[in-house]
Amino acid sequence: MALSLGVFFIFWELFVKYSDISAIVLVAPSEILPVITNNYDTLLKELKYTSEEVLYGWFWGNLLALLTSIVIFSYKKISDSVISLGVIVNAVPLIALAAILGGFIGTDQNAKTIIVAILCFFPMLIVATTAFKRVNGDYKRLFDSYNSSKPITFIKLIFPASLPAIFTVLKLNVVNAITTAIVSEFFGAHGGIGQFILARKGFYDLPMVWAGIFFIVISGSLFYFTIEIAKRLFIKWN
């Protein structure tokens, strides 16, 4: 993992050095590094701003979606229509909502958090509902033969069986949340990496733009792998 990253950066450095690619498009790592160390505090401040949107939005979006899917799971008609709605929602690039929603909700940090939450909500709602419904057949019959109550069947069978699918979306939503936060910052914000990148791009301060991208990529990866590790702790059987 570390090795392949190293190779990637060396390749990147050499590519910029020996190809005649314009500095407006791609900057060598050796130019980015000093920019990062010199502007560490600023970058960290912007990153914190964005990270709060991402973390809270991700957390609440997923949590509310899970709670909602548990509630509607008991109502066959609603959960069926949620699943068929999923087909449509998945075909729509929800990220476009980020632009529109900004106009309704506002441009401050809380507004971004809400937009991130909304964009995490739907994938989780659909996948969790579908996963709950997919636990069927003999497993269901087994629990019926124990005369198990619905809540017990849910806790002991349906929820754990759905965990792999849920974790997949938790990870997917990390990427989703970061993209949403950045993009909605592009559409106007009072802070954050997205807004920072946009501002620096206006000054053609390319190394700074790349430094911003760097920061978000690294912190995003950390977040992603944290969930991956949590998944491995929870799901030992897959």
């Binding site: 003999d138 497993y139 019959r141 087994l142 629990f143 019926d144 033969s145 124990y146 005369n147 198990s148 017990i152 002991k156 069978l157 754990p160 069986a161 965990l163 799901i235 030992k236 059987w237 897959n238």
Partner: protein, 263 residues
């Protein structure tokens, strides 16, 4: 209901109506299963064997099926028998919970029933010993062979001491040698516990080896073709190559072949 009958079916017909045209899966099937009896059901694929087990265990989804006729389990309705946890079900696949180790898989029904921890521990230990898997108590299902997994699912079905065991092709996925081994173990469990066992299989030989009686069904919609008494002494290992055993095989095979269907 006769006192010494575990299960009584009278003119049982089952209709699936989730398709545009309803499908009659089982047609006017009547038979009794005595207390402690080992009975097998054989018949062409799709003749309704699994469906019959689902009706007996009250696990058929009523939202897309219709049942006619009369079914009595231990003197009352299947629903009541299920609510009193009188029926254990073993499926073709072991249906173990992957996130639980063997011990926890066997204890699952006991937890649901709400037994105390000490009692659960005691019973699980005994059951794992019975199926010779004590050493594997902390293993997870994916660390075991299919045969071992199926033994766990049998132990699990016996955990809450149901009076009736329904088994739907439980050894269908095993190779010949393991299947024979499992057959012997099942017979010893049967002898030890005295459970009533209804066993569905595609193997004529397995049915003869295990059961006191064999119900042969026609192709879909399943009707009773014949009920055969297997008049061979247990253990039947010595009988395997015998003339009588062979005669039973031929009898059942020709009953099934008359259906122009491969079993």
């Amino acid at each position: 209901m006769q006192k010494n009958n575990s299960i009584e079916l009278k003119e049982l017909s089952i209709l699936y109506n989730d398709l545009k045209i309803g499908l009659e899966a089982v047609s006017k099937v009547s038979f009794d299963v005595k207390n402690g009896e080992f009975i097998s059901i054989v018949g062409p694929s799709g003749c309704g064997k699994s469906t019959i087990l689902k009706v007996i265990s009250d696990t058929l989804d009523l939202s897309y099926s219709e049942t006619r006729g009369d079914v009595k389990v231990l003197g009352s309705s299947p629903k009541k028998a299920r609510e009193q946890r009188k029926i254990g079900f073993v499926f073709q696949k072991p249906t173990l919970l992957q996130w639980r180790n063997l011990e926890k898989n066997v204890s699952l029904p006991l937890e649901i029933i709400g037994l105390n921890k000490a009692e659960i521990k005691k019973r699980v230990k005994k059951l794992l010993k019975m199926v010779e898997l004590e050493k594997y108590a902390s293993y997870h299902p994916d660390q075991l062979s299919g045969g071992m997994q199926q033994k766990v699912s049998i132990a699990r079905a016996l955990a809450y001491d149901p009076e009736i065991l329904l088994m739907d092709e439980p050894f269908g996925a095993l190779d010949e040698i393991n299947r024979r081994k499992m057959n012997d173990e099942l017979l010893s469990v049967w002898k030890e516990t005295g459970k009533t066992i209804v066993f569905v299989t595609h193997s004529i030989e397995e049915a003869i080896y295990l059961s006191e009686r064999i119900i042969v069904l026609t192709k879909q919609p399943g009707r009773i073709k014949k009920i055969i008494n297997v008049d061979l002494p247990y253990p039947r290992k010595k009988e395997l190559g015998s003339m009588k055993f062979y005669k039973y095989i031929n009898q059942i095979r020709s009953l099934l072949e008359n259906e122009e269907e491969i079993v």
